[in-house]
Symmetry: C2
Subunit: 464 residues, 2 copies
Amino acid sequence: MSRCIAFEHLWTPDGWLSPGYLDVDAAGRIAAIGATPPPQQRVDEQVAGHAVPGMPNVHSHAFQRLLAGRCEIGGRGHEDNLWTWRQRMYALAQRIEPRHYEDVAAFTYMEMLLHGFTRVAEFHYLHHAPGGARYAEPAEMAWRLAAGARRAGIGLTVLPTLYAHAGIGRTPLPEQARFVHADVDEFLRLAGSLHARRAEHGAAVGLALHSLRAVAPAELSAAVAGAASIEPHLPIHIHVSETRHEVEECLAGLGARPVQWLLGHAPLDAGWTLVHATHLDEGERSGLARSGALAGLCPMTEAMLGDGLFPLVEYHREGGAWAIGTDSHYASGVAAELRMLECGQRLSRGRRNVLADAEHGDPRRLRSGEQLFASALRGMRALGDPAPALSVGSPADVVVLDPHSPTLAGHDTEAILDAWLLSGAADAVRDVMVDGRWQVREGVHLRQESIVRAYAEAAHTLFD
Amino acid sequence: MSRCIAFEHLWTPDGWLSPGYLDVDAAGRIAAIGATPPPQQRVDEQVAGHAVPGMPNVHSHAFQRLLAGRCEIGGRGHEDNLWTWRQRMYALAQRIEPRHYEDVAAFTYMEMLLHGFTRVAEFHYLHHAPGGARYAEPAEMAWRLAAGARRAGIGLTVLPTLYAHAGIGRTPLPEQARFVHADVDEFLRLAGSLHARRAEHGAAVGLALHSLRAVAPAELSAAVAGAASIEPHLPIHIHVSETRHEVEECLAGLGARPVQWLLGHAPLDAGWTLVHATHLDEGERSGLARSGALAGLCPMTEAMLGDGLFPLVEYHREGGAWAIGTDSHYASGVAAELRMLECGQRLSRGRRNVLADAEHGDPRRLRSGEQLFASALRGMRALGDPAPALSVGSPADVVVLDPHSPTLAGHDTEAILDAWLLSGAADAVRDVMVDGRWQVREGVHLRQESIVRAYAEAAHTLFD
């Protein structure tokens, strides 16, 4: 039993359809797409305004949402950066109970939906009970994420994360006890068990290696081999080159810069996502672009932590694939992340429309907003679902922009993405559909009140 | 006849009052402020949530709002920057009729109010009819701004702008004909006439010199002398050092960098606002800080035009005064501008909480959000109204944050500004009062529908 939805304006990879329609099957996938439905087909729903695909969010640590706005406190003259922020994150991570983990996930995913993300890859490393004791159900915390995702109605790909060392060759710290498995086998049993039961919990599954600081070369090889035995082409994610300090540690410990080491020792391909990849030399940058791996950029978090700027223009020109993640969730919105990405690039280069200039070919891609948006949609592959957005077989994930938003006032269809993503003080997202079901209507999430209440209670429990 | 308004939480320069109250006189000024009204006083209105002062916006070209989202189009390899953007702005400036100017101003000011600004300094240079013919009423366009400000309900300080040259020693271009007066005397007649009739139009008046590119030294001296004869302490604004190109032009033409030249030749003091001041050497930076003049920073516009980053941390540490402006209005919001300002500084320095670290003294100022907010309030002086925000005698300009906004969920009062300004994907502004009158209720401007409609019609007329 399929459902036919007609849109006033529908974005597709080949251009706007005005009008356009989607035929959505019972599983929430797109069965047909086009300008007008076949004559015999009944239209079940009419949607006014501009509809665009939901955006994949390729990098999230949901519980870190609790820190945004709560650790914007300076010391006096000391260096405050990712590493001092991490101390605060560790202190929080000691205290989170499974019910908090679920409540924060539901809230964080709800915020993503309210601002245009419809799927998320959750880089999940808070595996065990405080102190490192195993939960009776080893996947307890992962299934809490899945429960939070179901409450929010977002598409979840959970990435159980291998975390073995406090730094290259260093044993884990006591405050990392919740993250660490006894060995790669214990970790792969968790990943295998999540994968086997994924349908029951409504989540997709991939795999994450925390970083080259936290995973030794032999562990990385064992985990990658184990991933292939769970499922060929399982998405693999890894944090890399977020700070210069990490690059130096890797040079000292492994004799190579992080991306350089991965290019030489790991089977990088389109199934891999390298998160941040901020500090690259030219060889790493072009090697990464050629590898087909995805760079997972997190512009708001990278700015708020003072990490630095990814060399996007050159990488993009070299054909490199990239997508966006909200990471610590300073601003879980498609427009907020893409705007910060564009602003950082413009500032660092002293010019405008830097990506649009980099593209040769499709004239639509000369528009900065269109270019950013279409490029970031490639993040779907990081979630294990490589079908192009809004095409037959892909999930019916749709974001409808508010025709009454001042942000879009007076704009023609061809400039709607530029207006939404790069102008205005208010986000313009109005309605959001995931897998064919509306989760956000008129700018409000269907379960917003209860999700916000539970999150606020968790925050007060954890911080007061 | 005064009105007493009680707030659940009220920010003051000395700390939060929970509860707090304001007594507002018939002119919309604050007659009293405190924790609890005198026992005999009737409370006229109770307001839930966190109330903070309205923010001054020290730099606006309202009509440029039309360009945001409409010129995010790249070429192929050419340099696209402020100067190519200016060509698009000039093309638009040729076509704007007085009614468009008013409609765009009403819309732009409405957006400011929706996102926390309650007053604006409008740097106004579109004086004459297309081609340069004088309007029958020479102040036609300025009064259109005042009319737009009244429709929006924002506090306006109009700054008629002296614009005399296309560059140092260069006669104006034909496309600048609408900006240029016959001589400084004609310009001063306009400024004097605006000043004389300001009460009738409900606006304050200051004076702007476009830049050292557009105003020659003798013209600058004559205009500054003329300003003093209109009123002592009239606010004076000038664009300066927005790009490296401008610095080079000034070095070649005047033998000094722009701020260096102003420090040597203009009577800079707290009545002056230097807009942008992006590219400073150390001497200019500390000289500007010592002068008492205000740096008018426009973070979103400076990012979107690729201008560069102001050396805020050092300047702030040296006691320099600064405030924010929305300039071309890429995002006319207090949170959007302050967040971009903080992000740019964190990125350029590779660390977090950069301003909070710079402050010695008040422990509240160790919070980044609080520090940014309290500092930017000093922009009131650029509007000619130097009373500290939310103090007796200052305008009753209040912004109330939405207690139900996900952005503020679970936050304590002490971190509310950090949460609003530096976290969340949605702005949290709910209600906005200017001069004691509500203009925004529940996130909607009281005249939003008609203002948006008129703006959209103007945009279609000008661009279709």
